[in-house]
Amino acid sequence: MPNNLLEIRDLHKSYGDVEVLKGVDCTMQQGDVVSIIGSSGSGKTTMLRCINMLEEFQSGSISIDGEEIGYEMAGTQRRRKKEKEIARQRALTGMAFQQFNLFPHMSAVRNVMLGLIKVKKLDKDEARAVSEKWLDRVGLLARADHFPGQLSGGQQQRVAIARAIAMNPRLMLFDEVTSALDPELVNEVLQVIKTLAQDGMSMLLVTHEMRFAYEVSNRVIFMNQGLIGEEGNPRDMFHKPKSERLAEFLKTSSFA
């Protein structure tokens, strides 16, 4: 049996005494587009960040293509993998952040090139070619030599997505990528993500854009108080919620 693209088993995560993830299970196949919805504090972003080892987690496991992320067993002792190994595993996933996090001292194209040169070890010309291809895909080839400070929020986020996806990750993680944007800039970013989804990119999105989650995903996960409250295809989730919590959440969110 082939491995699942992503397999999360009984994921637990606490900050001090506060348990934010209380045993999350989740699997994804190649090509899946999964949206995670839920109120703030439900643990959706934390779960995403655990997949990329931006957060440590206390127990449970995360694997990508059957490869366990972040931790290994030494005898009976669970320990964090070596930093170099974690760095390599992080490149299996790409991540786009709410705050874009472009490197402000580099032009758009250099932002995309950095990982290609330093992690993928491409030479400069190859890296530039790949970067320009992806900047073109997000509609910003003409802005390749602009610096982040010279770009609008929407443009910055599109560059950030190009930067992540140029690394050819197995799975793209989107962490509320439109939350920091002015309303009129949201669409250009969502459009880019939609195109990527149509091209078969596997992705996991934390989003507050219910309409978008409905349209783009083949599965929706509703997180509630550190657990998966309900999951299913978008049609059922949005039109026939089984749990009261989800029905309530949908009522208060913008999905009409």
Partner: protein, 220 residues
């Protein structure tokens, strides 16, 4: 005040003055270079080192920054000798200034590194960069731009602090000037002239800093 007479005396005194300027420049340059090198290490330790080491370095910077430079200079010359580290006035002076410089540069570097948003490190991690790579290509270059104005300021402070070495008998510009005054009694003229020379050195440092700042400025 007779200008042409002063110019005559000044011309005759050109050699000690030039030597004094040379010593002042060497002291400053050495202190700034060593102090900056050490200061970057101090700044890195203050930002990234684990608890016991970080506390030690924090203690070092707080102690040095809370001590007058003159005390450091005197201690380095007179006290180190008593524990067997016999330095000449020139070396002792540079050691004191470099140590002083390092505590300031350390704080500047720490401030710059800590002001970089956490998202920068996270984005670098997310594309698979290791920490040394993250520092070299993402954090370092951003910190450098922030550090520069304060660093130029510290460099100018070091030039001024170099005058304190006259007290332990280093023949830098101020001591040379005082020697000339004691022979010619032209205190106003020579102090003015020395002041002018210090100003020129610091002005050059400041212009250079501005130039580099412009060169590496990020377009926005």
């Amino acid at each position: 005040m007779d200008i042409s007479h002063f110019l005559d005396v000044l011309w005759l005194a050109r050699s000690p003055i030039l030597k004094g300027v040379g010593v002042t420049l060497s002291i400053s340059l050495l202190a700034i270079c060593c102090g900056t090198l050490l200061g970057v290490i101090v700044g890195l330790a203050l930002t990234y080192a684990k608890a016991p080491l970080r506390w030690i370095v924090r203690g070092y910077t707080d102690f040095i920054r809370g001590t007058p430079v003159l005390v450091l200079v005197l201690a380095s010359y007179y006290v180190l000798g008593t524990i067997g580290l016999d330095l000449g006035p020139f070396q002792a002076g540079i050691l004191a200034l470099a140590v002083f410089c390092s505590s300031h540069v350390g704080e500047i570097v720490r401030g710059a590194l800590q002001s970089i948003p956490k998202g920068q490190t996270e984005a670098a991690k997310a594309i698979g960069l290791t920490f040394p790579q993250t520092f070299a290509y993402v954090l370092g270059p951003q910190a450098l731009r922030q550090v520069l104005p304060a660093w130029v300021n510290t460099a100018a402070e070091m030039v001024k602090a170099s005058t304190l070495l006259s007290i332990i008998g280093v023949a830098e510009l101020l001591l040379r000037t005082q020697e000339l005054i004691s022979r010619s009694f032209m205190s106003l003229e020579f102090y003015f002239f020395a002041g002018f020379l210090y100003f020129t050195i610091n002005y050059a440092i400041e212009r250079f800093g501005r130039y580099v700042e412009r060169k590496i400025a990020v377009p926005s």
